[in-house]
Point group: C2
Amino acid sequence: MAKSHALTSNMGVDYVLVYRFATADKPKAQLRFEDLVRRLASVGLATEVRNGEDHSLLVFVRVASEEHMFGEIYRSRVKDWIHGVRPAQPAKEVRMSLEQEPLTEAERFRIIYQLMTNPEREGGAGITPKKGEWECVESMFALHDHVYNKEWIKKWSTQWLLSAQDLDELRDRLGEKIAFYFAFTQSYLTFLLFPSGVGVFSWLFLGHFSSFYAITVSLWCVVFTEYWKHQELDLSIRWGVKSVSTIETKRHEFKAATETTDPITGETLQVYPDSQRLQRQLLQVPFAIACVLVLGTLIATCFGIEVFISEVYDGPGKSFLVFLPTVILTVVMPLLSGMLTSAATRLTDYENYGTDAQYEKAYTAKIFVLNFITSYLPLFLTAFVYVPFGSLIVPYLDVFSLAVKPFSEDKAQMTGPKIGQFNINPARLRKQVIYFTVTAQIVGFATEVIVPYAKRQGFIKIKEMQSNRAKKAGGIAPSAAAEDVTEEKEFLARVRSEATLDVYDVYADLREMVVQYGYLALFSVIWPLVPVSFLINNWVELRADAVKICVEMQRPTPWRADSIGPWLDALTFLTWLGSITMAALVYLFSNDGMGPDGTPADIKGWALLLSIFFSEHVYLGTRWAVAHAISKIDSPGRQKARRDRYLTRERYYKESLDQTSRIPDMAEKGEEITRTGLEEEARRETLRTANPEDRFWARQRSWREAAQIGRGLIERNVPDERDAVERKKEL
Amino acid sequence: MAKSHALTSNMGVDYVLVYRFATADKPKAQLRFEDLVRRLASVGLATEVRNGEDHSLLVFVRVASEEHMFGEIYRSRVKDWIHGVRPAQPAKEVRMSLEQEPLTEAERFRIIYQLMTNPEREGGAGITPKKGEWECVESMFALHDHVYNKEWIKKWSTQWLLSAQDLDELRDRLGEKIAFYFAFTQSYLTFLLFPSGVGVFSWLFLGHFSSFYAITVSLWCVVFTEYWKHQELDLSIRWGVKSVSTIETKRHEFKAATETTDPITGETLQVYPDSQRLQRQLLQVPFAIACVLVLGTLIATCFGIEVFISEVYDGPGKSFLVFLPTVILTVVMPLLSGMLTSAATRLTDYENYGTDAQYEKAYTAKIFVLNFITSYLPLFLTAFVYVPFGSLIVPYLDVFSLAVKPFSEDKAQMTGPKIGQFNINPARLRKQVIYFTVTAQIVGFATEVIVPYAKRQGFIKIKEMQSNRAKKAGGIAPSAAAEDVTEEKEFLARVRSEATLDVYDVYADLREMVVQYGYLALFSVIWPLVPVSFLINNWVELRADAVKICVEMQRPTPWRADSIGPWLDALTFLTWLGSITMAALVYLFSNDGMGPDGTPADIKGWALLLSIFFSEHVYLGTRWAVAHAISKIDSPGRQKARRDRYLTRERYYKESLDQTSRIPDMAEKGEEITRTGLEEEARRETLRTANPEDRFWARQRSWREAAQIGRGLIERNVPDERDAVERKKEL
């Protein structure tokens, strides 16, 4: 049962740090390591050291002194309260308030992570993995809870839909950032049911490029994005992380240009002038142009070659030449796209943002541009260039004949079908859409889940073989496990294996979903089964991602978030653009899905533009109306927020009303004080001697006298009937 | 010098209440009056009663007990703090905090007003003028400060621009709501300088419908609206009213459909279901259609008659018949528009909003639709119907020949210029724009400022004559002033006169400005001198409004506001629409300002739509960029907000760090405790007997031992060169 124990128990370990000393010189590595454990101890964390693989140490960390953790919890809660995440000031007595609302596992891991990474002046240990002086700390991760993981996978794979409780549980384990990704995918999945139904109906009963489908799906996309915003807010309140994104975390990499002292607060400000940053940000323009040019040229070239070979060229080798563009794309695209991604990272680094949120936003924008081009440009080219202008452009594709010249034996083969009689292949667009929304999704799934798994298994095999060989050869490199105590062996083997896993990037998964949504919003009218494909894909994806996190990745550090971040803007943008492309596609291909016959004269510019104009403004109007309507929908989260607010207000009001209730009632006082003749005399004196103002206010003694005089005036002046009659006569 | 004293002194009066008893029966009026003064006294307000005109009493109110006012100040500040208007919890000791930041005059008047009008359970006197049981309280107003008013008018009329200090002073006197109107108008005025320059340049050197002018002015409009948003926020911080609009004030008129008790807070909720309100709101659709139909028909009919008479008809009476449409418009338009406005008010009342802000927003939307139709529809008709389609439509204008039949003597006169050869009058559009932007502005100014003044002077004369006549006839109605004490005579006469003045409606002035801005954003390309006209008009308007407030209106109650409210949306909408109309106008009239020759075939639909599409998206992109750029601009208000925030945070952080600094440093503790052999023994015991987890953590005694073991492991495992060489060989 030793094995099962190693899998079920984490030995009370909170975090594991991998300390790698392969590159540093020995004494320095030793000193640094000593510093590491000293610092961890200074914030109340106990450590145990074991041998790691390949010149590394495994440092096991657990909380030894609760005071330090409580200090961190209190600091974190004060921060939350100041930023409006918590409604009321946190109680100083952490222990007591923890009894009322115990820490979730995710919170505990976050707090400990902060305790280790926060700067020393903020009460942390100041360990920044892989950065600066702590480059030797290769990773910091919590151990997987295999019992829970097993249960989780089992549960998810046997139920159709995730309930709110499932997401809550996920959030308690992995933090809000990851929970938001799953909540979004789940929400998107259920949302896909409706367009799937409409899609199947359209596919069966309506013609190609059905305007019914286009309108329904476009409107539904609006509903989805707006509803998600609503739901996101609700979740953020439910999980107690609303406006957590306003807590700015400073980037370690930020380099201030100048350091100024705030004249009033005395705070030292690290400043990087916006004007300088703007200059750097302007580099985005050439970057975007470069992306469009580089990727666009590649895609257009491959597209041109493909069209040329499949529709114009008729020479020898056609059977294998048709694969040429796919080969080029498959080889060159990842290379280029990797280069551009790293350029985007470098550019964002260079823009030198002060906070993580700004950095992430700027980076997302660039990545979105890249993904937009690689994902949608081929379809844009086919739909809006090849189909309408094909017969004008195809003759120019002759340039490619140079490329295939070596293969052609006589000139006659080159002309193929007469260029003048060239016919557009209208099925090409549909084929492309099917490729992107079915084939590419499956391929993506495979590269994401199956390939890494196979690769990992392969690596393990290779390693085993190597070590066996080394053993046989009597090599000097002893296994890391050689010195392990027997009862820890299994456990340490598991930890060493987890240490080699990748770090989960929820960002990449989110990007994948948004890009997928783009196909639905922009092009799904071409092939109405797109939502069905996505529905199936995402059901699997949701489970596969869970498996991925459990099996192929280190346990992620549970970060907080109050939304899916900058991707929300991307969603809105895609929905907007969808209102334009859907209208354009429906108009362009309105002749029963066959597309214009290839000459631009047949397309009426004004009608195309009018449909776009109309559709876009309907979109804007609908968005406004839907957002307005959805804002009226109440939700448990909103109710909770209202209740918290009410209770806080109530408390403070009570305090203030306590004060006012002590104020003597002037109306009653007037009666109580029996004015003596002396006072009356004084008043009369005042009337004679004081200034006009004092005299004005001294004429009526109290509200009773004022009331009496008022009664008298009313008595005399109220209009009686005789008066009224006389006045009438007068007029 | 009595007169000058009456003008310079307000006798320490804070508010004057006009209590009218003309309609109520005598005993009830007396009782109610007694209740009034008693209630005022109960919140620490002293009263003096004097006779008023026409069956009314003047109730003078001043603060007698500071405690009640302090209570109200404290309550108001707590409210502000809870809503985030004030950064920190207000001090309970109001007197002390008032010494640090004294109340401005506006704040004092607002506080006293609230003291009088707030419900009794919130510590007020519960007097609601003109509403419910307090219908007899006709008005509640503070007295003008004539000395300051004189200075104010003098200062403003002698300087070109208002400084920030001028606006601050205004805000200190009249409150933020009015100050925001003046700040907006001032900002708009300075903003007009640039388009005025461009306009004069275009008018002198460029042809009609210059695209240069259109682009420049459209972009400048974007800059203006975005900059105003920025400035508005800055002003709201400067004046300490940021997010004051989130303090919801409940409407007295709100009628709850059901009353539910919140299950958690126990608060009694007055609920009116959104679904029911939505049903009522849907009435807006027929209302909007009715507005368009009613006003549109009127405008289109008059327009048709005008075109018919001036361009087709050639019979007798033409010289006076041309004025017929103007007469119809002048007579019918205000009637219709008044009816529709009151319908809008009733509709908004019927929609039964819970808070003032919601009500105002809904009302503004309706009024904006009305104003949009009356102000811009004539120009839309001329530019987009008459000019392009004129020659198609004009023949149908023959119907009007029936109307003028009585005047025509023979049929020949009716045909005028042959209908087939009918020519569009391209100058009509420009003439119309000049009418709306110059003539109408002057007429509006006159009806707003000069006419009321003349009317008032006339009324005073009539009243004097009447009372003289009454005196001669020995009539029984005695003058209200008959019983005045001599030294108060002048003062009371002044108060009685101020009591008859109108209540200032800043809303109407704001609407006027927004409508004016619409002409600039939508149509100014037709006649580029529009901004010049507005520049002059607004310079005068700004001063005239100041005079109006001082002379023709009661002193306004100083309300707070953090923006110009829903009109901001109207501004944004007009700017957006401007990006469409300007592009359309420039394209339609691109043949040197003469317009298309009247047949729609000449206009290329796709080119028109493309220019609109292009222009609108340039607008959207520019708006985004400008908003982004402007958000980077720092301002004194933002700096202040940052400072306040910093100080609050600093304080709370200090508190939390105090706590953590008390936590013993574990790293040091390790050294201090000299472990005895006994402890060592216990540890060894643990290793033998405890569970694996305890044994795991007991292997290393302290961080020092962990460090030592780590050093050992590094010592043994660090890759030396020989090792590295061997590994290379192996691979």
